[in-house]
């Protein structure tokens, strides 16, 4: 029941082999499965219905193309529809200076954290003087939280710990920011229910006082069917200009994004992808669509790799691989870089065709740890010249790493095989891969600037 949408879709479409033309009849079972899958991924009931109708309208009557199976063809149609739906509208920010952004949302959606993250990201993208104004006077220590984060990210900060008049606090914060010469002013507000008339009235007044250029709803990526009502009510009250989807580093499929987007038309602008303030990114519709459809998120993986992997180190390694004088020391360094990419499961999820695969992540990680321990128990000489490893040295290493000698032998054998493979590949396609990576990075330019 709770398989990912990806797995659901793959199994639904497997039933569609060997069909010549797509028709309502032969697609029915598959589309029923797609419906169940979308609902299980928290896409809203009505949005699901409309989406299925759109896909059906596009697909019925299409000849199945040569060389493609009907399943793949439907995936393509669904993917195109998803991308166009998710990506409609502009995800750039207003050009006004100072740029005033009001952050709103339910309790615990991640407004304060996202305020700091957005400040940090936009600062990196050229804003000289970002400034945060604390307008959450309700949650205990919310002001402290924003103050600490602002300090950490070097953002200007304003708060009034005495006043209970939120619109006035906002206005005073705005004045303070202007005096400080801020070119970006972020207003963090309290979490509120969309049906809490008093608090909605309060944020409307705040908005009227500070006249924001952008009003952004911060929504939890794992929101359920309620996402639609929440977004609609906030949109009706405040005229939202954008959406930030948070906690996307979890395994929620983000069906809420599709619901909110299709009901309100408000563009998704940014996504929160982790605990650290750096874990924040511009929204890419194609990536979310591909992730939903199990085509992997290669671009994200490549970018993440480019971000965390030390470029020079990587080039050195590539050079060594080419010359096939790759040592156990390099192997260790490489493993440590892979670890920086995150959990193995996370990496697998981003690879095409792998998302449905079940790996025993813990076993794999333990395996990596043991390998690391073995190499770390070797002397530098041994790491560079494994040929010197006789029986007694192997025993010493096994004892040092807390493993059996067999495991040491296995590792050495694997390493030898790797070296042989590298010799075979000598001069192979390494450069091409680098070029592709650079290209993808260039495309990943942030909009709004």
């Amino acid at each position: 029941m709770f398989d990912s949408l990806t797995e659901k879709l793959s199994s639904a479409l497997r039933n569609l082999r060997g069909v010549g033309q797509l028709s309502e009849a032969n697609m029915e079972i598959a589309l029923q499965e797609v419906r169940t899958a979308l609902l299980s991924a928290d896409v809203h009931f009505r949005v699901t219905r409309e989406f299925i109708e759109r896909v059906k309208a596009k697909a019925v009557g299409q000849e199945v193309l040569k060389g493609v199976n009907p399943g793949q063809q439907i995936v393509k149609i669904i993917n195109d529809e998803l991308v166009s739906l998710l990506g409609e509208g502009t995800n750039t920010l207003s050009g006004s200076r100072p740029l005033k952004i009001l952050m709103v949302g339910l309790h615990g959606s991640g407004k304060t954290t996202s305020t700091a993250k957005l400040g940090r990201l936009l600062k990196k993208k050229g804003f000289a003087k970002p400034f945060a104004v604390a307008c959450d006077i309700y949650r205990p220590a919310a002001i402290d939280q924003l103050e600490i984060l602002s300090k950490q990210e070097d953002l200007g900060f304003y708060a009034d710990r005495v006043s209970r008049d939120v619109p006035a606090i906002g206005a005073a914060g705005l004045a303070a920011a202007q005096t400080a010469g801020a070119d970006l002013i972020l207003f963090d507000t309290a979490g509120r229910l969309q049906i809490d008339a008093d608090l909605i009235e309060e944020v409307k007044k705040l908005s009227a006082r500070v006249q924001p250029d952008e009003i952004i709803l911060v929504a939890d990526g794992a929101l359920g069917q309620e996402a639609v009502n929440v977004a609609k009510a906030f949109h009706d009250a405040l005229k939202l200009t954008g959406l930030i989807l948070t906690k996307l580093d979890g395994d929620a499929r983000g069906g809420a994004a599709l619901s909110i987007k299709s009901i309100t038309g408000v563009p998704i602008k940014f996504v929160g992808t982790g605990e650290k303030t750096a874990d924040f990114d511009v929204f890419y519709p194609d990536r979310l669509a591909s992730r939903i459809l199990g085509m992997g998120d290669v671009v994200s993986l490549v970018e993440k790799a480019a971000e965390v992997i030390d470029q020079k180190e990587a080039e050195k390694l590539a050079e060594k691989m080419k010359k096939a004088d790759f040592t156990l020391e390099d192997f260790l360094a490489q493993m440590q870089q892979i670890k920086k990419l995150g959990s193995l499961g996370g990496i697998m999820g981003m690879m095409p065709g792998m998302s449905g695969m079940k790996i025993d992540e813990d076993a794999a990680e333990t395996g990596m740890k043991r390998t690391e321990a073995i190499i770390l128990s070797m002397t530098y000489q041994e790491r560079r010249k494994p040929a010197v490893l006789n029986g007694s040295r192997r025993l010493r290493i096994a004892n040092g790493a807390g493993v059996k000698v067999v495991e040491v032998n296995q590792l050495l054998k694997q390493f030898q095989q790797m070296q042989e493979m590298m010799k075979m590949m000598r001069g192979g396609g390494g450069k091409k891969m680098m070029r592709q990576m650079e290209q993808m990075q260039r495309q990943g330019k942030i909009p709004g600037r």
Binding site: L106, P140, E226
Partner: protein, 308 residues
Amino acid sequence: MFGLFKKFKEGLAKTVAAITAKTHSLFGGRKIDASSLEELEEALITADFGVETTTEILSEIKAAYRKDPLLAGKQAAEIGAAVLTRVLAGSAGTPALCKRPDGTPAVIVMIGVNGSGKTTTTAKLAWALQEEGKSVLVAACDTFRAAAVEQLKAWAERLKLDVVASHTGADAAAVAYDALQAGKSRGKDVVIIDTAGRLHTKTNLMEELAKIRRVLQKIDPAAPHYAWLVVDGSLGSNSIEQARVFHQSFGLTGLVVTKLDGTSRGGAVVGIWRSLKIPIHYVGLGEQKEDLQPFDPEAYSRAVFGLE
């Protein structure tokens, strides 16, 4: 107890209003037909019940309808509520939290994803237990999020709670150890440990929870006696995945469902109960200290179907 029951109903009032608006035409006495069944399906799906539970309730209603084609809508709602109550049978109840024979306080660890409401729930629960006459100590073990420690301290001050806290960045397990030690020497009945929010997908953060357990076990091998998952009632099917993973790696003993005072109906919790059989101890129905209430499956089920 009846007062609490009333509060539970009041809190769910908006929920009821929302769902009866949808099901009004359905349960107004008209006979069931294909379109009213679809409306019923919509009402259940949009309450986050998930496809499986929805299908089960619908099929029971359909079966009853086949037996008696004249079955009026009102009866369908009764059937729906009965099915849901049956699905939820055994899910309610709160444990009697009391000191171990050797004087160690009962230890509850509150865990959950970011923003689910752990700190607020910790404060509300401590207050409720104090009102029952128990002595409680809260431990600020969310040492990761900026100002989380201050947040719990502010609550403690407001509600006159005994608190053990360190500073942001401190070792959460060490704070938990200190808290249990302090709770024991101060003769507390209950120690509630508030932890940092963590997504269930982060292996390293799950490891931190295991460390908290190991450290607590140095004082009492049976600690923590309770591990409660705090679930945001407005989330969808992912809550089930969250519960599954937290249960696998930490062993949950109960659930607290928060933010049910909105229009969310928290149906995903039914899915958690169905697949994991973890009891639902409390529901959060508002921002005030008294807005944490014991879960009542029958009142909930009847509310969902717009029945008094």
